[in-house]
Amino acid sequence: MIPVSIQMRQALGKLVLPLLVLLSIGIIIAGQADRKLADQARMTVADGLAPLWGLMTSAQHRVQAINTNLREAGRMASENARLQTENENLRRWYDVAVSLTRENDALKTALHWIPEPTPAFVTGRVVADSGGIYARAVLLVAGTESGVHVGNVALAANGLAGRVTETGARSARILLITDIASRLPVMLDASHATAIMGGDNTPLPRLMYYAQDTRPIEGERVVTSDQAGAFPAGLPIGTVHYLHPGQPVVVPFAQLDHLSLLRVFDFGQALIDPPDAPGHVPLAHPRKTLTLPLKTLLGQG
C-alpha cells in the first residue's frame, strides 16, 4: 500500500473518473487517426478469444444436435406407431391376398385355364426427343437390337407411358399417351365400361366415347382395354378426374413430363394369329395387321 493521506486518496479517487474519460476520448481519436493499429489490436484480442469462441460454438452445435436428435426420436416414435398399425393392417391384407391367390389358382385349375405367357421386357434410358412428327414423344436408348418392336408397350415405374412407333437399331421412339395423335381404348375399372382416351398435348388426356349410362366416376382407376388388340387388358393408366362437369380427363400414374427410365414390354400380341375365318372381312387396315394383329386369344374373336 502506498502511503498517501486520506485527503490525497479522496482527491485522487475523484480525479480517476475524469482522467479515464479523457483517456477514452484520447483512445477514440488515436483509433481514428491510426486505424491500422486499432485493427491490429482487435485482431490480437480476437486471436486470443478464438479458442473460447470455438468451444462455445461447438457446445452450441452439440446442444442443437441433441435437440434435433430428441425431436427426431419423438417423430420416429409416432412414425413407428403409425407403421405398426399400418403393418397390422397390411398383414391382414396379406392373408386376404394369399387366400385369394389360392382360391384363384383353384378356380383356374378347375377351369383348365391356359396361362398367359410372361411378357419379355427391356429397360432403356429415355433421352430427350426433339425431332419426330409427334409433339409428345420420347426417344429410348434401346432398339431392335435389344428386341424392341413397333407396337410394344412402354411402361413407366407405375403406369402406362406410351407405345413404340418407330424403331432404329439402337433407339426407339415412343409415342406418349398425352400426344394428340394418341387414341387408346381404355376400360374404367369400377364399371368395366369402355371408353377412348385421347391425348391433346396437355398433361391430362381426355376420356371420350364412354357410354352415357356408365359415366366415369371421379377418382376411378383407368386401365387399358384389349379391344382392338393393341394392348393387353388391365395395364394401369391413371385415375379419372373432372376438370369441368362433363369433361372427364385421366390423371396418368406415370410422371410423363420427366421420364428417365422406361420398360418396353413385348406382350407377344403379334404372335397371336387368328385362325382363318372364311368370309371374315378384317376391319383394320391390311398393312397394320402385319405389325399389329388386332385379335387376342381372349378377345371377341
Partner: protein, 188 residues
C-alpha cells in the same frame, strides 16, 4: 503530536490482517460484476447466431454497470468500467474507445447520484435508468454518425435503448439477490 496519517500505521489496529483466503474472497467479490460483464461480452460476441445479439450486449452491459455503480461502487470501479469498455470495443466492431467513453459516462452519472438514487423506490430508479440509457444510446448513435460523416438509421439505437430498459428489471432482481447473498456471508 499528529497521528501518523499513513495507512500502514492505521490498518493493523483497526482489523486483523487478512489471510490469503480472505483476500482472495474479497477480490472475487469485488471482481464479480466485472467478470460477469466480461463473460457476457465474450458470450455475445461468439458467432452463435443469437437474434439481436448486437443490441442485447450493450443493453445488458449498460444495465449492469448502472446497477453496480450506484448500488455497490466498490464492485464496479471506474478503471474496471474503462477496461470493460475497451474490451467491448476490441471484441466488437465499434470504433475503439467509444464504448469505454459511453460506459464511463453512465458509470459517472450513476456514481455521483448514488446517494439520491438509493433513496428512490425501484420504479423511479428504473425511470432514471431509462433516461440515462436512452441518452447513452443516442450518444453512441451520434458518435457513429460523426465518424461516418453520414446520418445513420436511428432505429437500432432506439431498439438498443428499449432492450436495455426492458432488461434492467430482471438483471436488477438478479443482482439484488446476489448482493443479499454476499452481505449475508459478510456479516452472518
Amino acid at each position: 503530536m499528529m497521528p501518523d496519517p499513513s495507512m500502514s500505521a492505521w490498518e493493523p489496529e483497526i482489523r486483523p490482517r487478512q489471510t490469503v483466503w480472505q483476500r482472495l474472497d474479497h477480490g472475487a467479490r469485488r471482481l464479480l460484476p466485472s467478470i460477469f460483464i466480461a463473460l457476457i461480452i465474450v458470450f455475445f460476441s461468439a458467432p452463435l447466431n443469437i437474434p439481436g445479439a448486437a443490441e442485447l450486449l450493450p443493453a445488458i452491459v449498460i444495465a449492469t454497470i448502472f446497477f453496480w455503480s450506484f448500488w455497490r461502487p466498490t464492485g464496479m470501479s471506474g478503471v474496471a468500467v474503462f477496461l470493460l469498455g475497451l474490451f467491448m470495443d476490441l471484441v466488437g466492431f465499434t470504433p475503439l474507445g467509444v464504448s469505454a467513453f459511453i460506459l464511463l459516462l453512465v458509470h459517472g452519472v450513476a456514481f455521483y447520484s448514488r446517494f439520491g438514487l438509493m433513496r428512490l423506490n425501484f420504479l423511479l430508479v428504473w425511470g432514471v435508468f431509462a433516461l440515462v440509457t436512452t441518452g447513452a444510446c443516442l450518444l453512441q448513435w451520434g458518435l457513429a454518425c460523426l465518424f461516418r460523416l453520414d446520418m445513420l438509421d436511428i432505429a437500432p439505437a432506439l431498439f438498443e435503448a428499449l432492450l436495455s430498459i426492458g432488461v434492467y428489471p430482471p438483471l436488477s432482481a438478479l443482482f439484488s439477490w446476489v448482493l443479499q447473498k454476499l452481505d449475508e456471508k459478510e456479516d452472518p
